[in-house]
């Protein structure tokens, strides 16, 4: 099959970008989207042109490295699918496709379709961890956890941090990502000691990174390749409000300076 690609080309973070049109000719419908781009890039290299830069690593939908907006949808038209797991059979022969990077102030374009998602790492650094004594692995069932909570924590932990939620959100908000990260820890016994500090610190960092403000459009859930539910956003809201309400008590216990 043949496709016409309008690709966002941008040499570097401070350069001006523009769309350049390429043709993918005689590609197989069974190719993945990234394989198709590989073929286009080989053609560009043969002509001595700069190949299209795009992010990828595992190519099996688990690492979260890949991602671009394809015809107005992050990761393309197929639900619960990363760009690397998308196949050309999801498109029509002769279709025109617009390929754009995630658009967010917090995700500056590095080159072409690659953005810097370091902002996510900094949100994680602010509280996406637990403090526990290290040692040998604890006995599997030593800490009882409700089955529902274990399942929900797993659902939240399915987040691969690809950034499609931010890309899809009309507000450029990172609430779904942050909510997934606080939920998968906050639902487990091991995550309780820092539960409210975690919500407060991660939201504060999320705001400081320049993400927008959620208005419950639900576009993030629709775009998430892992189908993470916006119900986790309500959970984050609740934890954040409770962090405010319990702040005095915690300060009293630990002292103004913290530990």
């Amino acid at each position: 099959m043949n496709l016409t690609l309008h690709v966002w080309r941008q040499k570097g973070p401070r350069e001006r970008g523009r769309f350049v049109t390429y043709r993918a000719t005689d590609v197989s419908a069974d190719m993945s989207f990234l394989e198709m781009l590989d073929v286009v890039n080989e053609g560009l290299l043969l002509k001595g042109e700069e190949p299209i830069a795009f992010d990828h690593d595992c190519r099996e939908g688990i690492c979260g490295a890949c991602g671009m907006v394809i015809n107005g949808r992050p990761h393309g038209p197929k639900a619960r699918t990363t760009t690397c797991q998308l196949h050309l059979r999801s498109f029509r022969d002769g279709q025109e496709l617009w390929l754009e990077p995630w658009r967010s102030r917090a995700f500056p374009v590095v080159k072409d379709l690659i953005v810097d998602r370091g902002a996510f790492d900094r949100v994680i650094q602010a509280g996406g961890y637990i403090s526990a004594a290290i040692g040998s692995a604890p006995d599997a069932n030593a800490v009882p956890i409700r089955k529902e909570n274990a399942d929900l924590a797993m659902d939240a932990a399915a987040c691969i941090g690809c950034g499609a939620c931010v890309a899809a959100c009309p507000n450029g908000s990172a609430m779904l990502f942050t909510a997934a990260k606080i939920s998968h820890l906050g639902l487990l016994a091991q995550g309780q000691p820092e539960r409210y500090e975690r919500a407060a610190a991660m939201v504060e960092t999320m705001d400081a990174e320049g993400f927008g403000s959620c208005t419950n459009h639900n576009e993030c859930e629709a775009a998430c390749p892992k189908g993470i539910s916006v119900a986790f956003i309500a959970r984050l809201n609740a934890d954040f409000v409770r962090a405010r309400l319990t702040e005095g008590r915690r300060l009293e216990q630990v002292g103004e300076g913290g530990v």
Binding site: R103, A133, E197, M202, D207, S213, N237, A243
Partner: protein
């Protein structure tokens, strides 16, 4: 024993209300108060159908409740809520616009709704309408025959002027859309959401929105049709 790792900051560097979620909570709480108000307001206005004595009597009740203090308490609370609601909406909107300096060439909506995408401009219509509405029916502007306290007659005068009725009806559709999204969204913002009752919540929000649009639009329509004179 020493603690190996310091827990995340106990105190935020910015106050909670200044955070995005803090301002959203302000928007949700004030939105809930305003929603309660428009519901009671609509129910009270149904006295229009019971005739001039009923409506003017209802108005007298409001004006004399708690020796006249009740109305002022309500006005102060509502004005405070309106100011905080518009402040949080405006500041969060600017933050969200700033979060995407370069837009998409192509963007397709999937799970967002027309209502959710028009909250901001719908809010602006509501804002203009509220100013007009107070000037018109509370302060008596745009109506040469306005008599304070003669509420029934004032309402009938006002709605006999078709541009007033049209603006009123347009604003009520804006209100309906605003509440179709707002009334379920506010619960989500306050942390109450569960897949099991989310659908129910969305349908309840839609039900209230339709109830308000139908109830409120019935007043100008009844006047224009001559059912209420």
């Amino acid at each position: 024993m020493t603690t190996a790792t310091a827990p995340a900051a106990l105190r935020l560097k910015v106050p909670y209300v200044a955070s995005t979620i803090g301002r959203k909570v302000v928007m949700a709480v004030t939105g809930l108060v305003l929603f309660g108000f428009v519901l009671v307001h609509m129910i009270g206005n149904l006295t229009l159908y019971a005739g001039p004595e009923a409506m003017d009597g209802y108005s007298r009740f409001l004006h004399t409740f708690l020796h006249g203090g009740g109305l002022w308490i309500a006005r102060v609370v509502l004005l405070t809520c309106a100011v905080l609601h518009v402040w949080s909406a405006a500041s969060l909107t600017l933050d969200s616009w700033a979060a995407r300096p370069v837009g998409y060439r192509l963007w397709k909506a999937k799970d967002s709704t027309y209502a959710s995408r028009t909250m901001r401009w719908g809010g602006v219509i509501l804002f203009l309408f509220i100013i007009f509405h107070i000037l018109n029916l509370t302060l008596g502007h745009f109506d040469p025959g306005y008599v304070p306290g003669d509420v029934y007659a004032n309402v009938v005068h006002a709605f006999r002027q078709w541009p007033v009725s049209v603006f009123y009806i347009v604003a009520m559709f804006a209100l309906g859309l605003h509440l179709d999204h707002g009334v379920w969204s506010l619960f989500h913002t306050l942390g109450f959401s569960h897949p099991r009752y989310k659908r129910w919540l969305r349908e309840a929000a839609r039900g209230f929105a339709i109830l308000l649009v139908v109830g409120n639009c019935s007043f100008p329509i009844a006047v224009l049709a001559g059912w209420v004179r």
